[in-house]
């Protein structure tokens, strides 16, 4: 456990020192959301109607943008060898990296979501469901995306390949994430959708790091 925390702290410290990546994701999120009023037109009820979908799809794309680099730096400077040779199982190392990544991108993205929802004119009753859905959904996006990042490690055009691999797997999170918010907006209980998002997360926590570790070992051979 102390080693797990040491790994999380390591990644947070490296990210803070190098700067950029996490802020980039948030700026991308903001810009992408701001494009919709220009593209769709300023009509308030249309924007409010599509706001849930817009927020989730841009969150998905923002997650993808940052995940591409998850293992690349470690791979290029040789640190991945050392991480793979720690006595701690590689799956735990992977989980620590995903947790750190979520703290840097998923968490701020979730906290800023109501602000973006305000820009799009979403009804205020949807905010709690939006935040809860993002809290449960974005870690799953990170876990699945980490697997994609490991599988595409060392590939040419890894970014495009990653999108092709991972976006289809993001669909269940997207469906239930949007459904939870839409249910709240329609005055229906969003609990069942949130429960499914939670179930997806609980399934992803053991499965994805394990598969990611196997993919990383393959990349190191």
């Amino acid at each position: 456990m102390t080693i797990f925390l040491a790994l999380v702290r390591r990644d947070l410290r490296l990210a803070v020192r190098q700067g950029g990546d996490a802020a980039l994701v948030l700026i991308f999120y903001l810009l992408a959301v701001l494009l919709f009023p220009f593209g769709v037109g300023p009509e308030a009820n249309i924007l409010a109607r599509i706001s849930t979908g817009v927020l989730w799809v841009t969150a998905l794309l923002a997650a993808l943008l940052s995940l591409e680099r998850l293992f690349v730096a470690e791979y290029e400077d040789g640190s991945l060898d050392h991480l793979a040779l720690l006595p701690t199982p590689l799956a735990i190392v992977v989980l620590a990296k995903i947790v750190a990544h979520w703290l840097l991108t998923g968490l701020p993205l979730t906290l800023m979501a109501p602000f973006f929802a305000l820009i799009l004119g979403m009804d205020r009753v949807g905010y709690p469901a939006l935040i809860l859905a993002l809290v449960l959904g974005t870690p799953t996006l990170g876990l699945i995306g980490g697997l994609g990042a490991a599988l595409t490690l060392g590939a040419r055009r890894a970014g495009a390949l990653l999108a092709l691999l991972v976006l289809p797997l993001y669909i269940p999170v997207l469906i239930f994430g949007v459904a939870a918010v839409d249910a709240a907006l329609a005055g229906l209980p969003s609990g069942p959708h949130l429960a499914i998002l939670g179930a997806l997360l609980l399934a992803a926590i053991p499965l994805c790091p394990w598969a990611t570790a196997a993919a990383l070992r393959q990349a190191l051979e």
Partner: protein, 213 residues
């Protein structure tokens, strides 16, 4: 007496067999030097020994125990140094070594100071590693071996980029490691300045139609 040994090892890279029927044996306090031309499989053998690469055939043993049966204990007793220094550009030299200790569950600032002075880089302790030259970074990578000690060192071209002083210091730490009962396996085509048993990879080139290859 601790013995690290391999028996009948074979390795395949892509479609090509790089070595076959390779056996070795190092006892505590011993140095094994891997010799061979570029592409002869020195790095592959080291990665096999570390467990990063699964051998096609053969077995590795530590004190008679198959290494693959308990990979975690094997990882705990080995330190690997590859072509790349794996030094994080954003950290200072001292931070990098402290982090390395933490990841191995250690906390020992005295060992860091000692490691830095053994490699002659104590004046650099507070500098970010991105400002270091290639040779200085190499010294940081070598200092890690002392900061978080382990009995088995697997070193791939450890003297790359080192100047004469660095090579001498490196030979010194390997000598002390062996006196303390450690084992070092070193891949080198230059002269690493260390005496030891030599394993020439050229003797294990797979023959065509070789069933073991």
């Amino acid at each position: 007496m601790t013995v690290f040994a391999g028996e009948g090892l074979a390795c395949l890279r892509g479609e090509r067999a790089v070595f076959a029927r390779l056996s070795f044996r190092v006892e505590a306090g011993g140095v094994l030097l891997l010799r061979g031309a570029n592409g002869s499989g020195k790095s592959s053998l080291l990665r096999c020994m570390a467990g990063l690469l699964a051998p096609m055939a053969g077995s590795l043993t530590w004190d008679g125990e198959a290494v693959l049966r308990d990979v975690e204990s094997h990882r705990r007793r080995l330190r690997f140094l590859g072509h790349l220094d794996a030094v994080k550009a954003a950290l200072t030299v001292a931070e990098d070594l402290a982090l390395h200790q933490q990841l191995h569950g250690l906390r020992d600032p005295a060992a860091i100071g000692d490691a830095l002075s053994r490699l002659g880089i104590d004046p650099l302790a507070g500098l970010p590693t991105r400002l270091l030259s290639a040779g200085q970074r190499r010294r940081v990578a070598l200092a890690r071996l002392l900061a978080a000690p382990a009995p088995l060192w697997l070193l791939d071209e450890p003297t790359n980029a080192l100047d004469d002083d660095g090579v001498r210091r490196f030979a010194g730490i390997v000598r002390d490691h062996c006196i303390a009962g450690g084992i070092a396996v070193i891949a080198a085509h230059g002269d690493p300045g260390i005496a030891g048993d030599v394993l020439s990879l050229a003797d294990y080139v797979p023959r065509p139609m070789d069933p073991a290859a």
